[in-house]
């Protein structure tokens, strides 16, 4: 896949290296001449193509091949830049998948299809969610937002009083707009089937679309 990453800070460079290693063709673009010069001189990450330029300009995006990119990741440290890069990528180049980084959680509400964003990643939000997940048993924790907010991945660790314990998944009464994606049990990933029986301590990963989070919470938490 052809991936363009806007923003060559530590996040962008890390992503570039990982993706290039996995066999994708990665382009890194940044507006900072010294960062780009350094990257080109040291040839790190290996195999990545570097560009110096402003990814918020249509002409620049065109010249780096956005017209046939499969993915654009806007991961600069500036939310405004990330939103504009996303909008231009989606609107002017019809990039199939646009991913954007949220720096300030207060701006997270804008990172949706309104600005051409398919997947938004908020590091502070993720960290909070991971901490919550680590310390709370029996709570409904939102992990990730997909498709511009239309789908959400959430996690519940089943506590002792959960109504889901000893029930099969089909007996949970989960609403139609949700599905159990995985059950993590004692270090294993259990691929859920309709007759999978849930136990106390299971970490249930649920994908929720539409406004049915409350129903899912009731089924799993009580």
């Amino acid at each position: 896949m052809k991936v363009i990453i806007a923003g060559a800070g530590s996040v962008g460079r890390y992503m570039a290296g990982q993706l290039q290693d996995s066999g994708h063709a990665v382009t890194l673009i940044d507006n900072d001449a010294s960062i780009v010069a350094n990257g080109q001189a040291t040839r790190t990450p290996v195999g990545v193509t570097w560009f110096l330029g402003d990814a918020c300009e249509v002409a620049t995006l065109r010249s780096i091949g956005t017209a046939d990119a499969d993915i654009v990741a806007a991961v600069t440290g500036d939310d405004e830049d990330n939103l504009v890069v996303s909008l231009l990528s989606k609107q002017e180049f019809a990039v199939p998948r646009v991913l954007a980084r949220v720096n300030n959680p207060k701006n997270e509400w804008m990172f949706t299809d309104m600005w051409g964003v398919d997947v938004s990643v908020s590091t502070p939000h993720l960290l909070t969610a991971l901490v919550e997940e680590a310390v709370t048993v029996g709570s409904f924790v939102r992990l990730l937002s997909l498709e511009g907010g239309k789908a959400r991945l959430a996690e519940v660790t089943l506590a002792a009083g959960s109504p889901a314990i000893t029930k099969e998944i089909t007996q949970l009464g989960l609403p139609r707009e949700s599905t159990v994606v995985a059950v993590l049990r004692e270090g294993h990933v259990v691929v859920p089937r309709g007759d999978t029986v849930l136990h106390e301590g299971d970490e249930v990963l649920v994908l929720v679309t539409g406004g049915v989070e409350d129903d899912v919470r009731r089924a799993l938490v009580g």
Partner: protein, 109 residues
Amino acid sequence: MVRLGRKQRDSRQPQPVPEIVGTRISDAQPRARVCVIGKVTRMTARPTSGQPALAVSISDGTGTVTAVWTGRREIGGITLGRRVAIEGVPVKRADHLEFTNPGYTLLPR
């Protein structure tokens, strides 16, 4: 926005009725800049994430495309049956092409 037909490109002459050149919807390709001309056949409010959006279906007899304007509830002159030219770079959806915030030109019936 308005692209003139061949015989009208001489800019020394005052230009009479401008002729917009469009591609047949069935020939339009995803991710390539294209202009299509058709009639508005459907209009839907498509709010997402708490923000309004307007989705308009345009057909020209060879196919249908959707134009989505984000953050708008209506656009002056865009009504059912209106002839309109849409210009932009569409994405490929399941069974049709979709434009986001395209340029548009209202056309006489």
